[in-house]
C-alpha cells in the first residue's frame, strides 16, 4: 500500500521567543515492511536543518534560530510504500543488543499496579508470543482511549494504567513497561497510523517486542492488532521521550507555546504491481 503523509507542526509564541532550538525525529527509514518513496523536511524560518543519526539509527534533525521568533511551521511530507509482514519487523537498523530494551526508564517504571497487571495478563500463557498477545488485549481492554487527549503529551506508563485512560499514543508505553517487567525486550515506536474503519489517522506510537526465533514484532495495543500495512515507523527508542518527533527546550522567554499537530495520511492511488 502506498501512504501519503503530510505532517505539519505549528508553533506560536506569545511573546516572541528570543531564540529557538529543537531536535526532530520525523524521518522514516526503510525496512522490509516499508520503503520510503519520497520524503522531505521543511521549517519555514531562516535556519539550517542539520541531519544526524542518533545511536538507535533514527534520523535526527537539529535546527536553531535567533529571534524574535513568533511562530513557525515544521513540515514533514512524503510517500511510503508498506508491505504486510504480519507485524514482523526485519531489515531495519539494529544497533543494540536486546538487553537494552529490558531497561526500566522513567516513562516505563513497573510500579506495583503495573507489575500486578502484567502478571495477571500473562497468567496461563503458552509461550512468549502468546504472552504478548494476551498482554496486548489486556491493555486494549483495560485502558479506555481518550480521543481528546493529545498524542504529543507524553505520560508515564504507570500513570496511564492507574487512570485507566489515555491517548492512543500513550497506551504503547503501558504495554512496553509490562512486557519488559515480564522479561521480554520491548521498545517504543513513534510513527503514523493510517485510518482503519473505526479510527482516525494520525501520529501514533506503539511497541515492538522481541520473540526468540521470530525477531521484532509490532504490537499496537491501542488498536489491538499487530501492524500490517497501515503503520509507518518513524523512530525507535526506549520510551516516548527518546522517540518524540519534536523536542523543544523550555527556555528563551517562550512564555506561551502552542503546538498543533495534525498529520494527514491518505492512501495513494493504488498502483497494481501484480
Amino acid at each position: 500500500m502506498r501512504i501519503k503523509i503530510r505532517h505539519e507542526t505549528r508553533f506560536a509564541f506569545d511573546p516572541s521567543g528570543k531564540s529557538i532550538i529543537q531536535t526532530l525525529r520525523m524521518t522514516p527509514r526503510n525496512h522490509e515492511g516499508q520503503r520510503i518513496v519520497s520524503w522531505r523536511m521543511d521549517v519555514n524560518i531562516d535556519c539550517i536543518l542539520r541531519p544526524a543519526e542518533d545511536s538507535f539509527g533514527n534520523v535526527l534533525h537539529t535546527f536553531s534560530a535567533e529571534g524574535p521568533v513568533s511562530g513557525f511551521t515544521i513540515t514533514a511530507e512524503g510517500e511510503v510504500e508498506t508491505f504486510d509482514m504480519s507485524g514482523i519487523v526485519r531489515g531495519g537498523i539494529e544497533r543494540f543488543p536486546n538487553d537494552i530494551y529490558l531497561r526500566e526508564t522513567d516513562q516505563t517504571i513497573a510500579d506495583k499496579g503495573l507489575r500486578a497487571f502484567a502478571l495477571k495478563a500473562a497468567e496461563g500463557n503458552e509461550g512468549t508470543l502468546d504472552t504478548l498477545h494476551r498482554l496486548m488485549t489486556a491493555v486494549h481492554e483495560g485502558i479506555a482511549i481518550d480521543p481528546d487527549a493529545s498524542a504529543t503529551d507524553i505520560v508515564p506508563a504507570a500513570d496511564i494504567l492507574a487512570a485507566r485512560t489515555g491517548s492512543a499514543a500513550n497506551v504503547g508505553q503501558v504495554f512496553a513497561a509490562a512486557s519488559r517487567y515480564l522479561g521480554i525486550p520491548t521498545r517504543i515506536i513513534e510513527g503514523y497510523y493510517l485510518a482503519g474503519p473505526f479510527t482516525i489517522a494520525g501520529g501514533h506510537s506503539w511497541a515492538e517486542a522481541f520473540v526468540e526465533g521470530l525477531g521484532w514484532i509490532g504490537f499496537d495495543a491501542a488498536h489491538d492488532l499487530c501492524p500490517q500495512e497501515n503503520h509507518v515507523r518513524a523512530a525507535v527508542g526506549l520510551d516516548r521521550l527518546g522517540t518524540a518527533p519534536v523536542r523543544v527546550a523550555p527556555f528563551g522567554g517562550l512564555a506561551k507555546v502552542q503546538i498543533s499537530l495534525n498529520p494527514r495520511l491518505t492512501q495513494s492511488q493504488s498502483q497494481s504491481q501484480s
Binding site: T23, A52, T62, R95
Partner: protein
C-alpha cells in the same frame, strides 16, 4: 584482611613510630597541648575566613557547614606512594579503555568478562554515546579513586568516582592552611606539592579540545549553580584555573556550536569542564524538565564541536556492580595483574551470595548499586535490629540493586582533639587526571577522617572531617 586490631599509620604495635611518621611523632610529643589547641582554633578561623563550606542534602537546619579539619597531617612515604600511583594509573587507564569498549565494539562483554545486562540495563549506560568516539578515547578526564588501607602494604580501592568527583578544593585549601599553620613541620619534611593541580588540570582539558579549537581552546566550568552542594568548589576551581564559571543559561548552542554569552557578544567554547550530571546536561536529549543544562549541547557534542569533561556516560564505569568485575576487566585489557586490590564484594544478584549476605547482615556493609555519599547503605555492626530487618526486605525485593562488603578494618591516623591525641579511621581520595598525553596523579589527595571515635563512616555528609595528605620524599628520616 586484618581484623581485630587496626593498622595505625603512625604507631606500630610495639609503640614505636613508623619511619615516615618519626618527625611528626617527635613534633606531637614535644608540642604542649596549648600549642595544638591554638593551632586548632587558628585552623578553624582560617577556614571560616576562606568560607569553604558544603551543603548537606536532607538537612534543612544546616544548609551550609564547615567541614572539620584535623591539624595532624597524614603522611605517605615516596615508595608507598609510588606503588599507589602505579596502581591508580593502571586503574584509570582501564576505566577509559572499558568505556571506549562498551560504547564501541563491546569486546569485554563478548568475551564474557562482564554480563551484558549489567552494562546495557544499567541506567548509567547512555545509549546516546554508543558508536561515538570522544577525543583521544579519553572519557574520564578527572577521577577520584577512593582508597583504604588495612595494613602497611596493600591499598584497596573502595570506589571509583568517574562522574564529577568533588573534594579537590579541600586538598588545595588544606595544604594552604597547613603551610601557614605549621611551617616548622614543613621545614623538616620535603613534601610533594599539590599546588600545581589547577595547571595540570587545565593542560589536560586543553589537550582534549576538538580539532576546531586552534591554539588556545576556550575552556569553561559549567556549574548547576549556587544551590549545589559543591558550588564553593566550582567557583574556587574556576578561579584557580583562570576560566569562566558559567551556568547553563550563560551558554547557547547555534548550529551545533556552543557559545558563551559575553559582554562582547557570543564567544565560541571548545572545552566544558562540567559539574552537572548527565541527566541535566541537555533538556533536548535527557530530562526535558532540566533548567540547569544547555539545550542542544548533546548535538554539538556528538557533532564533535565541543569536548565535555568528563564525557557523557562515564557513570557506568564507577557503578558499584561494575566495580566488582574490575580485577577481571584490568586483566582483560592489559594482561596485567591489578596493582590495587578490590575490597571483597558479594554480588547480591548471585543467589549464593545473596543467601550469605542475608545470613550475615549484622557484620556486613550493604550498598545500593546506584547510591552514593553514604546514602542508602547499611552498616551492619552499627545498625539496629529493625534497620537490618527493613533492609533485608529491600534486598530480597531487588537483589541486583545491592552489593555487600565486609566491614573493613580501616587504618587509623592520629587526630588532635581537646581531649588529646587519638587514632581515627581514614580513607584517601587521590585525584587522577587523564588527557591526550597520558595519566597523571597529583601526589597526595584528600584524606577523609571519621572524627567520631570508632566510627568507620568518613563521608563529610555523615560527620567526617579532612586532613592534609603529605607525600614525603625523604622517608628515611635523614633530615
Amino acid at each position: 584482611m586484618a581484623t581485630g586490631h587496626f593498622f595505625d599509620e603512625m604507631t606500630q604495635p610495639d609503640g614505636l613510630p613508623r619511619k615516615v611518621y618519626e618527625r611528626v611523632n617527635r613534633w606531637l610529643a614535644s608540642a604542649p597541648p596549648e600549642l595544638l589547641a591554638s593551632r586548632r582554633s587558628q585552623a578553624e578561623l582560617m577556614f571560616r575566613r576562606i568560607g569553604i563550606t558544603f551543603n548537606v542534602y536532607g538537612d534543612k537546619d544546616a544548609s551550609e557547614r564547615l567541614i572539620p579539619f584535623d591539624i595532624i597531617p597524614r603522611v605517605l612515604g615516596r615508595s608507598e606512594w609510588a606503588r599507589l600511583e602505579a596502581g591508580l594509573i593502571q586503574r584509570v587507564k582501564v576505566l577509559n579503555m572499558f568505556l571506549a569498549d562498551i560504547y564501541g565494539a563491546g569486546e569485554v562483554i563478548k568475551a564474557g568478562i562482564i554480563p551484558a545486562d549489567i552494562v546495557y540495563r544499567n541506567p548509567h549506560f547512555r545509549p546516546e554515546m554508543a558508536g561515538v568516539r570522544v577525543p583521544h578515547d579519553i572519557y574520564v578526564h578527572i577521577s577520584g579513586i577512593d582508597i583504604v588501607r588495612v595494613d602497611d602494604h596493600d591499598f584497596y580501592v573502595l570506589e571509583d568516582n568517574a562522574r564529577t568527583p568533588s573534594g579537590v578544593s579541600y586538598m588545595l585549601e588544606n595544604r594552604e592552611v597547613m603551610m601557614r599553620l605549621v611551617p616548622e613541620l614543613f621545614a623538616e619534611h620535603r613534601v610533594a606539592p599539590v599546588e600545581n593541580y589547577p595547571d595540570a588540570l587545565l593542560a589536560k582539558l586543553k589537550s582534549v579540545a576538538p580539532r576546531s579549537a586552534g591554539g588556545e581552546p576556550v575552556t569553561v566550568l559549567l556549574t548547576p549553580g549556587q544551590f549545589n552542594s559543591a558550588y564553593y568548589e566550582h567557583s574556587f576551581l574556576a578561579d584557580k584555573l583562570g576560566v569562566e564559571l558559567v551556568e547553563g543559561s550563560d551558554l547557547l548552542v547555534r548550529d551545533n556550536v556552543v557559545y558563551m554569552r559575553t559582554t562582547q557578544g557570543p564567544q565560541r567554547v571548545d572545552v566544558i569542564y562540567r559539574r552537572i550530571d548527565d541527566d541535566f546536561l541537555d533538556p533536548l536529549a535527557f530530562r526535558p524538565d532540566s533548567a540547569l543544562g544547555v539545550p542542544g549541547l548533546m548535538s554539538a557534542y556528538l557533532a564533535g564541536n565541543v569536548t565535555l569533561a568528563n564525557a557523557v556516560g562515564t557513570g557506568i564505569a564507577d557503578d558499584k556492580a561494575v566495580y566488582t568485575y574490575m580485577p577481571e576487566i584490568i586483566k582483560f585489557y592489559l594482561g596485567e595483574e591489578p596493582l590495587l586490590k578490590n575490597v571483597p564484594t558479594w554480588r547480591c544478584r548471585e543467589p549464593a551470595a545473596l543467601k550469605y549476605v542475608l545470613d550475615h547482615l549484622p557484620e556486613l556493609v550493604v550498598k545500593e548499586v546506584n547510591g552514593s555519599g553514604g546514602y542508602g547503605m547499611l552498616v551492619g555492626p552499627h545498625a539496629t535490629k529493625a534497620e537490618i530487618a527493613s533492609f533485608a526486605e529491600k534486598l530480597v525485593h531487588d537483589p541486583a540493586g545491592f552489593i555487600a562488603q565486609p566491614t573493613l578494618s580501616l587504618s587509623t591516623c592520629p587526630a588532635s582533639f581537646d581531649t588529646g591525641i587519638g587514632g581515627r579511621h581514614v580513607d584517601l581520595r587521590p585525584f587522577v587526571l587523564s588527557g591526550a598525553d597520558g595519566v597523571r596523579v597529583i601526589p597526595g589527595g584528600l584524606t577523609r577522617v571519621a572524627l567520631k571515635e570508632g566510627s568507620l563512616v568518613v563521608n563529610s555528609s555523615q560527620g567526617g572531617g579532612t586532613k592534609d595528605t603529605w607525600v614525603i620524599d625523604d622517608e628515611t628520616g635523614a633530615a
